[in-house]
Amino acid sequence: MKNFRFLILITSILIVCLGLLSIYSTVYNRSIRIWKLQIFWVIIGLFIFLFFERFNYRHLWDAAYFLYVLAIFLLLLVFLLGIVRLGAQRWLRIAWFNFQPSEIVKLIMVIFLARYFSTKSYENISFSFVKRSMWQAVILPFLFVAIPMGFIIEQPDLGSGVMLLFIFIAFLYISRVRKKYIIIFLGVMILLVPLFWHFLRDYQKERLLVFLNPNIDPLGAGYTVIQAKIAIGSGGLFGKGWLSGTQSQLRFLPEAHTDFIFSAFAEEWGFFGCIVLLFLYYFLITQSIRVALKTQDNFGQLLAWGISFLLGIQIFINLAMNLGLAPVVGLPLPLMSYGGSSIVTTFIALGILASIDKRRTKF
């Protein structure tokens, strides 16, 4: 019997260590405090992991609706009291640190959706949403998702908002909702894109346009995309070496310790380093999917799937953004990027995963 939770913990600690090395490299010559803070959050994160590993995840079933209300409340607070940084209102000031509720809201929505889709129907005891109507299977849960999504996009945090949508679509797929319904839903979403475009902020439109062609504005919105590509590309096969990445050291690469940590890592560690990192992430995601596949409990299974999606989609979007394959939307790379909210949320998610693995019915 494989001990998935052990492998998950080891993998995530390895990734966190690579992240700490890269954060040190990007900040050591201006503010070492950031690095120390990250270490602090990692330690807190590890304790939280251990706490959630021991915590029975089935309690989350009962708490799902309460958590949902809490999420809405937090987002409302951000909307009313949130502090503005980098042109966005995403943070709440708690004591001496800034807390980004959209991170935890994403996890709460995963728990909520797992709860919603694991509800059994009266007619059919078997775990399946196949028989459910369009209203029950798609429209009603989407309305639940749409409220926090709206708040998050309004912050504005397009990345997290779009992530919620992706997680929702993944849940529809994995909950065996009829393909016909999923296709109808996707069709409606695509038809709504022009309308959605109309509601975007100017800078968001600019970023999306710049993604299509970074050279339209090389010193403005396209700057980050170009600098990230230069950082990654100039790493070459073996990289420039730790503490020697000129793009991040001399600050040509913006947000090198947060959203663009991967570019900073790629510059210093090269192609080989990147392949190792990609493998670690791949291993982490596949291990968490395995937990889902081995779990019999409907709620536990969906929750494990949801956490896999949460990690996977965020990793995909961030890496794609670094590689210039997706527009710059401001999502951290789980376990690597600097940021307490992200680190703690990720460790909570991994803790829940470990808890599911631990309490699985064993044969």
């Binding site: 230069i230 590309g233 100039s234 192609f271 392949i275 791949y282």
Partner: protein, 568 residues
Amino acid sequence: MRAKFVNFIIIFIFLFFGISLFNLQILKGRQFKEASLKNYLRLLPQSGSRGRIFDCNGKVIVDNCLSYDVMLLKQSQQDLKKIFKKLSSILEIEPKDLENTYKKEYIASSLPITIVKNLDVKKAIALGELKADLGNIIIQPHPVRNYPYGKTACHLIGYLGEIDRWRLTKLADYGYKTKDIVGYAGIEERYDYYLRGEDGALSIEVDNQGRFVRLLGFKSARSGKDITLTIDLRLQKIVEEALEGRNGCVIIMQPYTGEVLALASYPNFNPEVFIKKTNISMLLRNPESVLFNRAISGLYPAASVFKLISVVAGLETGKIKPSTTFNCTGNMEIGGRQFGCWDVHGQENLMQGIIHSCDVYFYHVGLILGAQLIYDYALKFGFGRPTGIDLPYESAGLVPNPLWKRIHKLQKWFEGDTANLTIGQGYLLVTPMQMARMMALFVNGGFLVPPHIVKSIEGVPISFPVQKAIKISLKKDYLNFIRQALRRVISEPDGTAHILADLPVEIAGKTGSAQVSGGSPHGWFVGFFPFKNPKFTICVLLEHAGSGYAAALLTKQIIEAMIKEGLI
């Protein structure tokens, strides 16, 4: 089933990332490495000064003085606005104009941008004091060409300018770059490779704000090589003063070595204009072709001076003798057309024919010799090809012959053409430099000397651009005969240049009046002096001066000044 599909998608996405990384880091790695270098490397050029130019006595003709450029390193937009505002108060230039030059001068992010050029010392010091506040501004002293004598020897020296595309493509292999300052025309162009200083540079590391982080490397600038000319500045000044105001040129050359002692062309220009960049377009639009060096690039009919070629050809081949006599009746019929002379000279022998510059006498000579023979001798004497002087843009001239006329004019050669060629008219075109060299040949006993104006480079005498003098075998008696004739052109009361007879120095030479369509004839005087022990060959050409008389008069003026200065 659905889980398998999800697994498949995950593998697919990770593979896609791997391929993207391979593309960015391995396939395009070098390209991005260069881009990252460009980001943080800045090169501060340190210009080396151009070599100086001296005259044959070691007097400075052209040297350098320091001037200051204000340069900026590439930096953020807000900082720029602030800097422009501060700079404009000192420099008295609108911030908008500064911004425009900044945009115009931008080459690459790794190079500093020059926003103000040629600042004087006072403003440079004022800026230097502000430097602490301004941060990224660089005040770069750099040497600029200084012309202490203004227009003097301008055609010899040439001028400076930014390298053009044509030169850049030709010279890129020799280390020339865009925005390099190179010589145009004259010594500055011909010897640019020696004169140009080698630029050094500081390479520094900067951060994203363009702020200095550390010094990476340093290469010191090297000055160009100094060049000493064969020109005598005193003589050059005399010649230019004499020529002032009259279109034409004067060459004074050492007859034995081909060293050019003075060379002037008018209209002239002040090369400083190209440094200060004022009124350049006016200069270039001037219909009088100010930049044109008439002494080597101008093409004129050789006129009566060319009769000497027929004399040599006739004597050497034995077709005429000094005693050959013809009768000048004022005109002569050749091929059904009347060819006139400028006077009626009666019975003349060869000596008298030369002294009077009688056209009819030489029509007879020409018809005896035939066009081809005159053509052959003209080529022997260096006509029809460049003299090889070490100045750019020399013209070859043109000596016609029957074959040439058939090919280029699609016409038969007539006897009249021969007559015209004999007296240096018709299709014949020569440069004043070719004429001076021909005269030198009579002086030095038959050597076609290579004219040159550079004596040494950095103290080392040059040998390479100077070809060996070509020996033309001429009988000594005949040479003496021609020298005597040239002397008597001046000493005889009815000689065409008798006006020069009253000078304390004995002069020999030949005048010419070149008929041109449109305007009065050009005047030539080509000669040498002192007669007994010649030290100078002189060639004067005055455009549309009416006749050779004006040129002889100018020669007189020059020689008088030379005597006054004690140069003879």
